[in-house]
């Protein structure tokens, strides 16, 4: 008796006939009845006959028949689709009953037929993981893959990524790569196996953005709750600000950099950007992984903060303008003196740190804490990882105070 078998089950006086499906629990049989419904039946109470073996290939059902014959059209630009896993390319996993990534880039083409005719595609799978399982070595591998794709002639790159940590990976690529073409991250907040998935519009808009003129690392996701347009966010300024909404991603401290209209397929930018071809392709993949991001909250254990002294670098999400409890200041001073840079950001998320206003702030500056301006805490962590591996130790403070990839702005103009 295996999933996919056609079975007849007697339980009490009731009979069920259908296809046996994989079950999430050991004590329940799950049978798909002819009407399409699944029912759970107590395994211990059930008498089961297999009527016919292997009626359905349950595991392979999703693969389906081809249908996405990829043809090359010289008139179209070439866009590389790189898959790392995530909701945009996911389907039901019968083992856990949850949604996991099972698609590669070509499956995305099959799943999103609307992509056809917009570009010549090159597909590539770098990883097949949920984005919460993302690690810095995958960021480096991905950066290498993007570098290779651009070197091989891609006019733009679309990276399909789970939304949970998309902002970290996208930021990492912004620091690691100098790119002459757009590198556009996209994903979906509703899994691809539902008709309402946002994957179709997000993928279409991401490809349009990858063909556009802005040679930066961007995040392309729904701008509103409607399927009308996608926002293009600068990767170092974007944050997932909602657990479930389609328009969860927001540019912090400003309007999004650009917008892709789904209906008329236009791409418009609100502010200046790095133009296509302006930069020479380069890669600086080094990352120092021993960097921690700590959020200060009232009542937190100072001992545990002290135990972070052996980290290569520390980013602090302070309160307000960039503060922590006064009693933590000596701990930070010792860290800085022993060679662990301490970088201050704010848990307010909006706004920039300024440690010159209150005494605690001045004490922190005196202790050698580096102000990260309006750099987002998560972005600051990625930037510090990159800086520690790519610039001389004495230059790290200045690097953290200097914008490298749009992560740090000079003027606070949130209405723009």
């Amino acid at each position: 008796m295996n999933p996919g078998d056609r079975v007849h089950v007697v339980r009490g006086g009731t009979e069920y006939e259908g296809v046996l499906m994989p079950s999430t629990t050991a004590d329940r049989l799950v049978v798909k009845l002819d009407g399409g419904y699944n029912v759970g039946i107590d395994r211990a109470e059930a008498e089961l006959d297999v009527l016919e073996s292997n009626v359905y290939d349950v595991e392979g059902a999703r693969d389906g028949e081809g249908g996405s014959e990829i043809q090359f059209d010289e008139a179209l630009p070439t866009v590389s689709l790189i898959s790392t896993g995530g909701t945009i390319a996911s389907t039901v996993d019968y083992r856990t009953g949850a949604v996991t990534a099972q698609f590669d880039a070509e499956d995305v083409l099959r799943a999103v037929p609307d992509l056809a005719g917009r570009a010549n595609y090159r597909g590539r799978v770098v990883a097949n993981i949920l984005s919460e399982n993302m690690t810095p070595d995958v960021w480096q591998e991905l950066a290498g893959a993007v570098h290779e794709e651009i070197e091989a002639g891609a006019d733009g790159v679309v990276v399909m990524h789970g939304t949970d940590t998309m902002q970290f990976t996208a930021s990492a690529l912004a620091f690691i790569l100098d790119t002459p073409v757009p590198v556009v991250f996209t994903g979906s907040q509703r899994s691809a196996d539902r008709p309402s998935s946002d994957n179709v519009m997000n993928a279409v808009c991401a490809v349009e953005a990858a063909k556009a003129d802005c040679a930066e690392v961007l995040v392309c996701m729904h701008a509103t709750e409607s399927d009308d347009r996608c926002a293009l966010h600068r990767s170092t300024r974007v944050r997932k600000n909602h657990t479930s909404r389609r328009n969860a991603f927001e540019t912090v401290g400003a309007e999004p950099l650009g917008v892709v209209d789904y209906d008329d397929e236009t791409v418009d930018f609100r502010r200046s950007y790095d133009e296509r071809g302006a930069a020479d392709l380069a890669i600086h993949p080094g990352l120092e992984t021993e960097v921690e991001l700590v959020k200060f909250t009232p009542g937190m254990s100072f001992d545990r903060v002290e135990r972070l002294a052996d980290a290569a670098g520390l980013v602090v999400e302070g309160t307000g303008l960039g503060h922590v409890h006064t009693d933590l200041v000596p701990t930070f001073r010792e860290m800085v003196e022993s060679g662990t840079p301490v970088v201050m950001t704010s848990q307010c998320i909006e706004g920039r740190v300024c440690d010159r206003v209150y005494d605690t702030g001045r004490d922190l500056l005196d202790a050698g804490v580096i102000e990260a301006g309006d750099t987002l805490p998560g972005t600051a962590k990625v930037k510090l990882m990159w800086a520690l591996a790519n610039v001389a130790p004495e230059s790290v403070p200045e690097t953290m105070r200097t914008p490298l990839a749009g992560e740090l702005t000079d003027r606070s103009t949130p209405w723009q």
Binding site: T14, Y16, G36, V39, D42, V92, R194, P195, S196, D227
Partner: protein, 621 residues
């Protein structure tokens, strides 16, 4: 009339089954904590727009109905309210299955003598017409294998589903359809019977029986649109037809009868067409033929497409249901693809199309006198798709009755809606964990039929009033009132007759809550209000629902009548009619009673007045 033919249904091999959809009256929706309140579209405070894309089922198949739906590329607009949340907007995962809804479902399962499954698995039933923001309806099979009795024998109840109600279609927009989210997510049970029904009357009886059982729980929604019946009908040589959206129980027998007639007629037409060696030709562009037409419909279109129907002359115009012809079926298919409808030669010349144009049309597609031609006038894309659909449906006429889903019309006829949905339209809803129901703790309610009996034997209501109360919307209020010690006849009369009376006098009785009614009855029971004043107090409460019952008594000017005032008023009446009393003695009682009641304007209880009057007359004699 042809459609009034007296059929022998057993002979025809009529097989019918029912699908009954009933909304449950729960506090919250099935997968979120929003109230199950219906709203007017103009109270919406947000709107947004979406597209849907068909996906594969877990068995790798795409549903035919879903696919046809998706060919029509449409934008769906949704109206949100202050009573809806992100779950209805498909912008938040569903919460757990509502316990109250599951409990009610188990109660219904017990009434239908059904077996409850060991674990309820929530499924996604693909629906891409926009009526669900997610593109699927969440649905679960809760029980199987039940039965109900009818006078023509038992009817099996195959399954009962607990599912979420879809969004209400509000209007068409330029780009697609507009839906309201207020209805989306209200718990709905779908009860499917076995194809055990053998006559139109039995179909109606079975539906009535199930409706009675549902209402016996006291936990189902009432009113227009809260219960919908689908009927599956086929005759021996015909095909299974799913008739959707029958709103009224009274129509079910008519609908079955007219569907049988439609299938019989389609089979008769098939035989005739076969005898004539009929055939469907290839669609052709005949725009040139109508270059100078006076027909507004045709002149307004860029393209006219025609399909020759060889051997169809007279058949396209043949009636298959009252005021519906084979041509109407062809037209339904054209409409489905965006065309306004079709013209065919059986009805032409007409609508501004001249006899000369009809001749030219026949020439253009090489159709002779025994042939028919159908045309569609629209934009090129629409006209081409629509004429293909017309040709396909005309071809099916040669085979007999096509399997399909049809929409019930109000007059008992029906129109083509879409192909029958396949079984492949479902896959598991992984966001909702399976639930283990516990049918052991379920208590079955007293049936409405049993209530009618009890109201007569225990409370002394007459049969008519007992039935009115038991089946009425105010039944729970009646039971509460009687439980509080209120006289059953007074309670029943008030809840049914009095409310009906004041409604006829245009009182807005829909504003009356159970609290209004019960508080008013309490005042009667406490002798603070005469029975005769109930109507007036309820009228005041209906007009000013914010008032308390006591305040309404004051407002109606019915307060503060004690026996002294009654005696004063009665004495006055007796005084005024002293001559009559002297002459007739107690014989004057009836005449004076009316006058006394009038003088007291219903402020006093009739029995008190009658006692006092009797005394006053006695005194004079």
């Amino acid at each position: 009339m042809d459609h009034d033919r007296d059929y022998d249904y057993a002979d025809l091999g009529l097989v019918a089954g029912l699908e009954i959809h009933q909304q449950l009256d729960t506090a919250t929706k099935l997968f979120c904590d929003c109230p199950t309140a219906r709203r007017e579209p103009d109270t919406s405070d947000r709107r947004f727009a979406r597209y849907l894309h068909p996906t594969r089922s877990e068995l790798g198949e795409i549903d035919e109905a879903a696919l046809e739906e998706s060919r029509v590329d449409r934008e769906f607009e949704y109206l949100a309210f202050d009573t809806t949340c992100l779950v209805e907007e498909d912008d938040e995962p569903p919460h757990r299955l509502d316990e109250e809804a599951l409990e009610t479902t188990l109660e219904i399962a017990a009434l239908l003598d059904m077996e409850v499954v060991d674990s309820v698995q929530v499924m996604r039933k693909i629906v891409v017409d926009g009526s669900n923001t997610s593109g699927f309806q969440r649905s679960s099979l809760v029980a199987t294998d039940g039965a109900i009795e009818t006078s023509e024998g038992p009817v099996g109840v195959t399954d009962m589903l607990l599912e979420e109600e879809s969004a209400q279609r509000v209007s068409e927009t330029e780009a697609g359809v507009r839906y309201g989210l207020d209805r989306l997510g209200i718990p709905l049970v779908e009860i499917g019977t076995a194809p055990d029904i053998r006559s139109p009357a039995q179909a109606r009886e079975a539906a009535e029986r199930i409706g009675m059982l549902l209402r016996s729980t006291g936990k189902v929604k009432r009113g227009l649109g809260t219960i919908r019946q689908d009927v599956n009908v086929s005759v021996a040589e015909g095909a299974r037809i799913e008739l959707k959206g029958v709103q009224s129980l009274d129509d079910i027998d008519d609908i079955v009868r007219l569907e049988v007639h439609r299938q019989v007629r389609l089979l008769e037409l098939r035989d005739e067409l076969r005898e004539r060696d009929a055939a469907v030709g290839d669609p052709q562009d005949v725009t040139g033929t109508f270059a100078d037409t006076d027909s507004g419909v045709i002149a307004g279109a860029s393209t006219v497409m025609a399909v020759p129907l060889y051997g169809f002359d007279g058949v396209v115009g043949a009636e298959i249901q009252p005021d519906r012809r084979l041509g109407t079926e062809l037209s339904d298919h054209a409409k489905r693809h965006g065309a306004g409808g079709i013209f065919h030669t059986d009805e032409l010349p007409a609508y501004g199309v001249t006899a000369a144009e009809v001749d030219a049309l026949r020439d253009a597609v090489d159709a002779g006198g025994s042939d028919a031609v159908a045309i569609v006038a629209a934009d090129r894309e629409v006209a081409e798709a629509a004429i293909e659909a017309v040709a396909e449906r005309a071809g099916t006429a040669l085979e007999g009755v096509p399997e399909e889903t049809r929409d019930a019309n109000e007059d008992g006829t029906s129109r083509y809606l879409r192909p029958l949905p396949g079984a492949a339209r479902m896959y598991p809803e992984t966001d909702v964990p399976p639930v283990e129901p516990d049918p052991a703790g379920v208590e079955t309610p007293e049936l409405l039929t049993e209530k009618v009996e009890r109201y007569q034997s225990e409370y002394g209501l007459d049969a008519g009033l007992a039935e009115q109360v038991a089946y009425g919307r105010r039944m729970p209020a009646f039971e509460t009132a009687v439980g509080r010690g209120i006289d059953p006849t007074t309670a029943a009369t008030t809840l049914e007759s009095t409310v009906t009376e004041i409604r006829r006098r245009d009182a807005p009785v829909e504003n009356l809550t159970d609290e209004h009614l019960l508080d008013t009855l309490d005042l009667v029971e406490a002798d603070d209000l005469a029975k005769e004043g109930i109507g007036e107090v309820l009228t005041v409460l209906a007009e000013q629902p914010d008032l308390s019952a006591e305040a309404a008594v004051d407002e109606a000017g019915l307060s503060g009548v004690d026996e002294a005032e009654v005696r004063e008023a009665v004495a006055e009446v007796v005084e005024r009619n002293a001559d009559q009393v002297d002459a007739e003695g107690m014989g004057a009682f009836s005449a004076l009673m009316g006058e006394c009641m009038g003088a007291l304007r219903g402020k006093a209880d009739g029995e008190v007045v009658s006692d006092v009057l009797r005394e006053e007359i006695q005194q004079r004699l």
